[in-house]
Symmetry: C2
Subunit: 367 residues, 2 copies
């Protein structure tokens, strides 16, 4: 016998998407604490007879098996960044819903749940993925862990990630390469500095190269990407009376998806080749994703949702689909500029609009 | 009634300077824990009838009052840097004494104590200063605190600081100016870095200026000083996905004693005038000291100890005497290159040599 605590959240999928967003926001789910919201989502999905529901950790996957020619994934994460005294949610008189996770991305999750509940006979088979640990440690990312343990759960022809895009389609994503550049020197007492060699001074050519770097803006499948090469951290120093023998500059390279991670690293090495860098080590590398907008399912999607696609400049989990060979786009009702902010909020009209557009796409017959 | 613990150290001033150094080294006295050694020094000095002994905190001052025409100070600090598993002391077969404080500067303190005990009728009145807190926080420095609370205790015509100089006379000292240079920027997500402005990149001109800076080597009263301008710390960065809006470079300027602290700051401001620095703040400023070797007491001292004076490049407490209008030199048996090191040691022959030279000077009749 399973005892369900009285206060366990019950999600009514008959609510409209804005109200459902508020219910989801009011179940706190900071990364690592997704169990209550995952339980609620799982329970709600299990009431829908047309879906087969699976669970892995605090991630939930629900699928139709209608024998359609194509399958699409609608994916979203359940977790949020830490609260900032911005719960419970609050709907203002302008129809704007305030609170942690409203934009990133419980409004997207609400749209997923609404589609799951209200489109029992979609033109394409559907897979809904609700996953944990997107905001914090990459190795715990629920989508990544499902891709490893149950790759078949993610099999599809096209994926939509409902991360906040303000209701615009954003194609693919840029890759990330983080490297540590270390300059070297020889320690000495600062009163006899000429007996040593200053590693912080040795970083001058690296910073000069960064300051004058001109990033590419390649157009790929009609979308303009915009690269960026930035020092995001610099650290050097031993003590106030010591000429330092080491200085480390952390550089983040955001690169367009026409480069592979290997290309990106080669470019970084070449860029700093004559800057006196002692050592380059890779701190983090995540491939980008090509937009894949020429895929038939993507074309149908674009026709249904309308508007013009733009390039996704930040890295998102679409790259995980890309790594599985699946074209994927970002499309969600949240505002990306409000993600992770104390005054995070979402325009509820945009939630309804996204739900509407996705339903229009998914209820249409497909090849 | 005062109860003296059985284990309280008793210093036998009849020991030779090398043995006395070992006894002093074996009384641990890391900055802040000088009481046991100060007690031992005070007790030993109070057995000498020709001296008047005063104490302030854990600093001890002992003076002759013989009505001589001149008075000289012999000064040394009682504290050491933290232990590094280098106690108790150990004398090897080559006559080298190993242990924390052997060079910096209990061998100098031993010489002071030996002179105090064995020169009851000096040609110049003598003041012995043994002080606390030289190695750590400057505001607790015993010499500085005596200069504030009991400046009369330090009144004299010439001072010798027995800091380690390898038995060579080092005149005056260079000043120190530490400044924080802050560059500014505008935060942005690193995926849209062109919407911000990178404060680490903005540090490039500062580091380039430091890397190409040519320090002066002025000759003052026959001694060649050697300035140095060095970044000793650099810090910048917010998070791996954020273009940083601030970067701080800590720069230490070691300057020759022909500049005042005001001159030094003006020079630093001018040096970085066109480097895009948002703000310069002064972290620490300590005036240098002119060598003062033309003073008659200094001439007599140089004649007695022999050798050629060189410029003191590091900052020492001679600057505190200089601030009181007293010429002062550094002259001690320790090896300055071994100070603060785990393998700190001192050649005991040099201790005896210094004691010998100082006795030769001080037993001579003076004007």
């Amino acid at each position: 016998m399973t005892i369900i605590p009285e206060q366990a959240a019950v999600l009514d999928l008959g609510l409209d998407a804005a109200e459902l967003t508020a219910r989801l926001v009011d179940i706190p789910s900071v990364s690592g604490d997704e169990k209550p919201i995952a339980d609620a989502v799982e329970r709600a999905l299990r009431t829908l007879p047309h879906l087969t529901v699976d669970r892995y950790g605090n991630s939930v996957v629900a699928r139709t098996f209608l024998g359609r020619a194509e399958r699409v994934v609608l994916a979203g994460h359940l977790d949020t960044v830490p609260l900032a005294d911005n719960l419970p949610s609050r709907l203002d008189e302008d129809g704007v819903l305030w609170g942690c996770g409203t934009s990133d991305m419980k409004s997207g999750v609400a749209v997923q749940l609404r589609i799951a509940a209200t489109v029992p006979e979609p033109g394409r088979d559907l897979t809904f993925v609700f996953y944990e640990h997107e905001e914090a440690k990459a190795h715990l990312n629920g989508l990544g862990r499902i891709a490893e343990a149950h790759p078949d759960w993610l099999g599809c022809d096209f994926a939509v990630l409902l991360e906040p895009t303000g209701g615009q389609v954003e194609g693919g994503c840029q890759g990330i390469l983080r490297v540590l550049l270390r300059t070297a020197g020889v320690r000495a007492h600062s009163a006899r500095s000429w007996t040593g060699s200053n590693a912080i001074h040795a970083a001058a050519p690296v910073l000069a190269r960064l300051a004058t770097y001109r990033p590419r803006r390649p157009v790929i499948e009609g979308l303009e990407y915009h690269e960026g090469l930035n020092a995001v951290r610099i650290e050097g120093g031993v003590a106030n009376n010591v000429v330092p023998d080491a200085c480390t500059i952390t550089v983040t390279f955001r690169y367009a998806p026409d480069r592979t991670p290997q290309d990106a690293l080669a470019h970084v090495r070449e860029t700093f080749a004559d800057c006196g860098v002692e050592e380059i080590t890779v701190g983090n590398a995540a491939a980008g994703a090509l937009p894949g907008l020429s895929h038939p399912a993507a074309v149908a999607f674009m026709t249904a949702v309308g508007g013009t696609a733009t390039a996704k400049l930040g890295w998102t989990d679409v790259a995980r689909f890309s790594a599985l060979g699946v074209p994927a786009v970002n499309y969600g009702p949240g505002d990306p500029l409000l993600a992770h902010k104390q005054d995070e909020r979402v325009d509820t009209r945009l939630i309804a609009h996204c739900e509407d557009r996705l339903r229009a796409w998914l209820t249409r017959p497909a090849p």
